[in-house]
Amino acid sequence: MTDYLAQTAVLLAALWPKLVAGFLITVEIATAAAPLALVFGLVLLAPRMDRRVFISGPTVAFVELMRNTPLLVQIYLIYFGLPVLGFFPSEFACGVAGIALQHGAFLVETYRGAIESVSVRQWDAARAIGMSRLAALRHVILPQAAMKILGPLGNQLIVLAKDTSLVSAIGVMELTMTGKLAIERSAASAEVFVAIALFYLALTTVIGGVMRALEYRVAGRF
């Protein structure tokens, strides 16, 4: 037993610099993809909620396609598809783009859900006292929606952080790929993935904690 622990410790110590390097790339992917996804979701929001069907229709179709197909296949489509069109983006860029596109499609529904969860009477009341649609949205609906959105937003960001592992499938040397190569190329064993799991757990726990702290602060302001 002590032998086993000592061996595992030596193994992990030798791999430590590589694991940290992989972890940093994972964090990089997440920090690149998260803002893109948040903005992309916002960009989709107006056409998604448009009353004219020829605008909302295609948006709904795109959002549903992204939400009902695996992220892995979407990343493959971008990575293997763009070169056919004459574009050669890096693996990193393809991964980030794939994650941003799918999570943007999930986020637009999150935004929409939060806005629609604010009672219609709030709309009516704001309009009745003479506010324009934009003013009602800005001063009445959005502040209430913002409070309801932080919980689902935090969950989505945690899923996003975990989804960065899929970028290993197109060869980016992030945390998961580092573990796979360590096992395939050296004598490392399954324990490596326990260590990797702990890295991810730390990342998602921090994101969850930050989002919850944010929720408390926003809730305290109203």
């Binding site: 549903e64 892995l72 009672s119 989804d163 499938a169 993935f193 757990l201 998602t204």
Partner: protein, 215 residues
């Protein structure tokens, strides 16, 4: 242009069949496991509750792909010889189970505590309270999240291809390597996944709408 997709469609459909079987096994066994654990997480034993809570917390914070690699490499390390499907399937069942357990746990806890108190004051035992009072009410709340959970699980089966199990996504990659028709094949595969997933999606939304009580 579309010819590549048509000629390779039988191969892709064979992959889709494997995906369906994998999804069926993962969703049914994962939901079964998670429901049991979710009920235990609201039960009386403090030790069991702690164990399930740690299980839920740990699994939900880790990418499913990492759990699948862990399963793929851990079985041989423990001296158990299994094929890729079993390794990947068990990993996904354990993963889906954690999410299911959290849904079931919070659905049971969302039933007003007065309900259990009233049942207890009538002299009902713990098992009877669970079966006749808590679970029927919790089920209403849990159905839509469980369907969304199943939807995610179906999409996750595609990650099995990364670990080396042959299914729809794996088949697609083989064809693309041979024909270089990446757009036709991957878009076709997306269409197949969409056909499998969209009904689940619609069903989940229908249940969500049914739950909303108008203001």
């Amino acid at each position: 242009m579309i010819n590549v997709l048509v000629t390779n469609l039988p191969y892709l459909l064979r992959g889709a069949l494997v995906t369906l079987w994998l999804a069926l096994a993962v969703v049914s066994l994962g939901t079964l496991l998670g429901t049991g654990l979710g009920i235990l997480a609201t039960g009386g034993s403090r030790v069991l509750r702690a164990v399930v809570t740690v299980y839920i917390f740990a699994l939900r914070g880790i990418p499913v792909l990492v759990v699948m690699f862990l399963g793929y490499y851990a079985f041989p390390a423990l001296g158990v010889r299994v094929n890729a499907y079993v390794a990947v399937g068990v990993a996904q069942i354990v993963y889906v189970g954690a999410f299911t357990a959290e849904i079931v746990r919070s659905a049971i806890l969302s039933v007003h505590p007065g309900q259990a108190a009233a049942a207890r004051s009538l002299g009902m035992r713990r098992g009877a309270i669970l079966r006749a009072v808590l679970l029927p009410q919790a089920r209403r709340i849990a159905v839509a999240p469980l369907l969304n959970n199943a939807l995610t699980a179906v999409k996750q089966t595609s990650y099995a291809s990364v670990v080396g199990a042959w299914e729809l996504t794996y088949a697609a990659r083989e064809i693309v390597e041979r024909t270089l028709a990446s757009f036709q094949i991957f878009l076709g595969v997306m269409a197949i996944y969409f056909i499998i997933c969209y009904p689940l999606s619609l069903l989940a939304r229908w249940y969500e709408k049914r739950l909303v009580v108008p203001h």
